[in-house]
């Protein structure tokens, strides 16, 4: 079996992407709090939802990236 090595650059890029998504979902939560007139404590108390949604979006984007990568590889071979 071949070891999978993740380069520091790749890891940094993925972490940055996840952080970017987290910030977007966090803003999304702030908008929801204002729009639904919810208590501001939900910024902290609902952080687990923000994290969960960020992770879900990251996964969805990951799947899309994999599909794009697979198509690119196939095109390059032909």
């Amino acid at each position: 079996m071949r070891d999978i090595t993740v380069k520091g650059k790749t890891l940094k890029r993925e972490l940055l992407l996840f952080f970017f998504l987290f910030v977007i979902v966090f803003c999304f939560n702030v908008y929801a709090i204002v729009d639904y007139k919810a208590p501001w404590t939900e910024i902290i108390s609902e952080l687990h939802y923000v994290l969960l949604i960020s992770f879900t979006v990251y996964l969805i984007i990951g799947i899309i990236r994999l599909i794009v990568l697979a198509i690119k590889t196939l095109l390059n071979k032909t």
Partner: protein, 257 residues
């Protein structure tokens, strides 16, 4: 035996009701539905024992559903209201188990309380889908005592972010009506409620028997228990009279205590 008075769930519920947690109690609905003929087997060689063995089915010994089942739930209503009813009207018939029994196999009654609140009651033995329940309806919430449930009229709203996601999901996937409905059915709200008490696993019959033994030992039982038993039995029998006469029955003076 009115064992619900010894149930931790009922004790906690009644305390919360008396503290006004449900606001003003505006109606109590209670029902007890079974699906069986209520008969016990009679020895083939002694058919004359039927009336003794199946005493619940004969007027000489029983008022049927009213004294055997309804009395428990009338007691609960009286306990919650801290009062007995002031009148009862009702109807009943034998519409399914036409096997020679004398007591009704279905009854429906309305008991009125001094403050104008109604206890709406029904019992039957030809369908068990809804089982039994006492539903306490108040201006601030509802309690279903048999299933240990409390439902606020103002259920807690989910976090804003979930509401937003839910609304986006609805916008994307819901069907857009071309002609808006002029009336939307007011069906029950889908809200799972909260438990009234955590002590629901305790056996109320066992607790009642323990209390009974204790009362024998001390040589005295609380007067309230006797009063509860008296009023629930009395109003079960008055309900029977209301059904038989087809009239609204009020409490005769001679029964006032």
């Amino acid at each position: 035996m009115h064992q619900r008075m010894f149930s931790p769930v009922y004790l906690e519920a009644v305390e919360r009701l008396h503290n006004g947690e449900l606001g003003e109690i505006t109606q109590i609905r209670a029902y007890w539905h079974r699906n069986n003929n209520w008969r016990r087997p009679v020895p083939e060689k002694k058919p004359d024992l039927d009336r003794k063995i199946n005493w619940r089915l004969y007027e000489e010994y029983s008022a049927g559903l009213l004294t055997e089942l309804a009395s428990h739930q009338i007691q609960v209503a009286n306990w919650i209201k801290k009062s007995a009813p002031v009148s009862v009207m009702g109807t009943g018939s034998i519409n399914y188990w036409k096997d020679g029994r004398e007591v009704y196999d279905n009854v429906a009654c309305i008991f009125s309380y001094p403050d104008g609140m109604q206890l709406v009651y029904d019992s039957m033995i030809s369908n068990k889908h809804y089982g039994l329940e006492e539903q306490i309806l108040g201006s601030k919430g509802t309690m279903e005592l048999e299933v240990n449930k409390y439902y606020s009229e103002y259920p807690p709203t989910p976090p804003a972010i979930l509401q937003l996601i839910n609304d986006i999901e609805k916008d994307i996937f819901d069907v857009i009506p071309i002609g808006g409905a002029s009336w939307v059915p007011e069906t029950a709200i889908e809200y799972k409620g909260e438990f009234i008490s955590d002590n629901y696993r305790m056996d109320e019959t066992k607790l009642q028997l323990e209390a009974f033994v204790k009362y024998i030992r001390v040589g005295k039982a609380p007067e309230e228990l006797t009063k509860e038993g008296y009023h629930s039995s009395l109003w079960s029998l008055l309900a029977e009279e209301a059904i038989k006469t087809g009239k609204k029955i009020t409490l005769p003076d001679k029964y006032i205590i």
